[in-house]
Amino acid sequence: MKNRLKVLRAERNWSQAELADRVGVSRQAINAVETERFDPSLPLAMKLARLFGAPVETIFFLEDDADGLPHA
């Protein structure tokens, strides 16, 4: 699964540690999600979506939906 977490974080000038604190996980967890080595749980994905004010599917998407938009 791909994601736009790094871009969204950079837009807000947050460090990985800062983002981790905001959603209540470790910095390593954010790093692992950003580098796509680890798919977050649904609660964590929803917390991130709520924090960035965007639908989950625009932050996390399948490789087929590489443009970041969910296909019908």
Binding site: A17, A20, D21, G24, V25, S26, Q28, A29, N31, A32, T35, R37, F38, P40, S41, L44
Partner: protein, 137 residues
């Protein structure tokens, strides 16, 4: 600030740690003593098997619960991978040792007691997983 809170050292947790460690140390040794007793009857053999298995289970459950209670999902993932690796290593090791004993390549009492080996494999698995995941980041 880390958001991963491992199992807290409450009296109850310390009790379970001590109990499971003692069971791991005493279970297999008691079982071996029963098997090598002067009157090795069949039921004593079965009792020895039950004691050995019951001695090993608490530490395995304790470590698994400690990992599952980590609040950070990444640390939980690293822990579970390490636990699986350590347990797999231990199983392969004990099968190999059992074969070596059956083939009489080593003495029947070799590599006993079991507990340092089991601890060692679990520790190696957890440490190996932590290092492997750290190297990838």
């Amino acid at each position: 600030m880390s958001k991963s809170y491992p199992i807290k050292a409450t009296p109850r947790v310390l009790f379970w740690l001590l109990f499971s460690s003692a069971a791991l140390a005493a279970g297999p040794l008691t079982a071996l003593k029963l098997i090598h007793s002067e009157r090795p009857e069949a039921w004593i053999g079965w009792l020895a098997v039950v004691i050995a298995v019951l001695g090993v289970l608490p530490i395995l459950v304790f470590v698994a619960v400690a990992i599952l209670r980590l609040t950070d999902e990444w640390h939980r993932h690293v822990g579970l991978v390490g636990y699986a690796a350590g347990l797999s290593g231990a199983i392969v090791f004990f099968v190999a040792v059992d074969m070596l004993k059956s083939a009489r390549l080593i003495e029947p009492w070799s590599l006993t007691p079991v507990w340092p080996w089991l601890f060692g494999w679990l520790a190696a698995g957890l440490l190996g997983s932590a290092l492997w995941h750290k190297r990838q980041s």
